[in-house]
Subunit: 140 residues, 2 copies
Amino acid sequence: MAGTETPAPPLSIGDVAEQTGLSVHALRFYEREGLLVGPVRRTSGGRRRYSAFDVDWLLICVKLRESGMPLADLKQFAELVRHGPGNEAERLQLLEAHRRRVDAQIQALEECRSVIAWKVGVYADHLARGKAEGLWDPTT
Amino acid sequence: MAGTETPAPPLSIGDVAEQTGLSVHALRFYEREGLLVGPVRRTSGGRRRYSAFDVDWLLICVKLRESGMPLADLKQFAELVRHGPGNEAERLQLLEAHRRRVDAQIQALEECRSVIAWKVGVYADHLARGKAEGLWDPTT
DNA sequence: CTACGATCTGGAGCGAGGTCTAGATCAAGT
DNA sequence: ACTTGATCTAGACCTCGCTCCAGATCGTAG
């Protein structure tokens, strides 16, 4: 099996931008900030060539960012991975801590949602029936 | 019934900060930015005196902010309320649009959560059994 | 009266997370 | 060879949402 797969052609920064949803600016910025696991390969002319590995990593980064992980934590994670095997427990900790934060966030959002939904209901009632209680009216 | 309730004593900025979780700085900032429905009352000496109405409004503001509503939208909503009755349909629209965004956000977070949970599983496996597939290892 | 803490105003400063610019270089099509 | 578009670097700049300061004033407890 190993060795028979197509080596997956290296991708330009533009391709990676498209695949990850990050801007090319953001990609260069992430690299400068040390958020990538390894140094990105370059062509003889100096253009970046991303591997499938890089893209995988970036896709996870996007999910972590989307769920509110600060760049600093992402960088820490990248550093752990960069330093190779032996620190998997730490990586696991980092991820689990984040998962807990995401859970908390979802809970908080659900609470917000219900408050908002209630207020929406108040307005909908008002519009359907005329006057309703619970509306803000600075004139009353 | 009406008229027999205790008029609820006006609150200082510090009290409101405590009740809403906003800092006194943030409260003054919100006011300057026009995020409050009406002008806040003042004592003869110029200190702010918040009404229960103000606090209610701020508590909703907090929920809206917590769920990612930008200050600009909050301001727009405040303006609608400020301009009094007659624009309830618009207010409803604003809130419903936001509720939809919150729903989308929850969905996105749940997706992130599952990606993270999967990765956590990969690491947990690795730690339990030794080698596992799917780990990032820059040395391989 | 004196202290002391809370509040006041206007404006500067900050951290996060990018975004954009300028001017040069590379690479591919014709 | 020439044109066009993607990329390169370094560094300036931007938005958002506060946060903090300086210096003055208020108001309450002793």
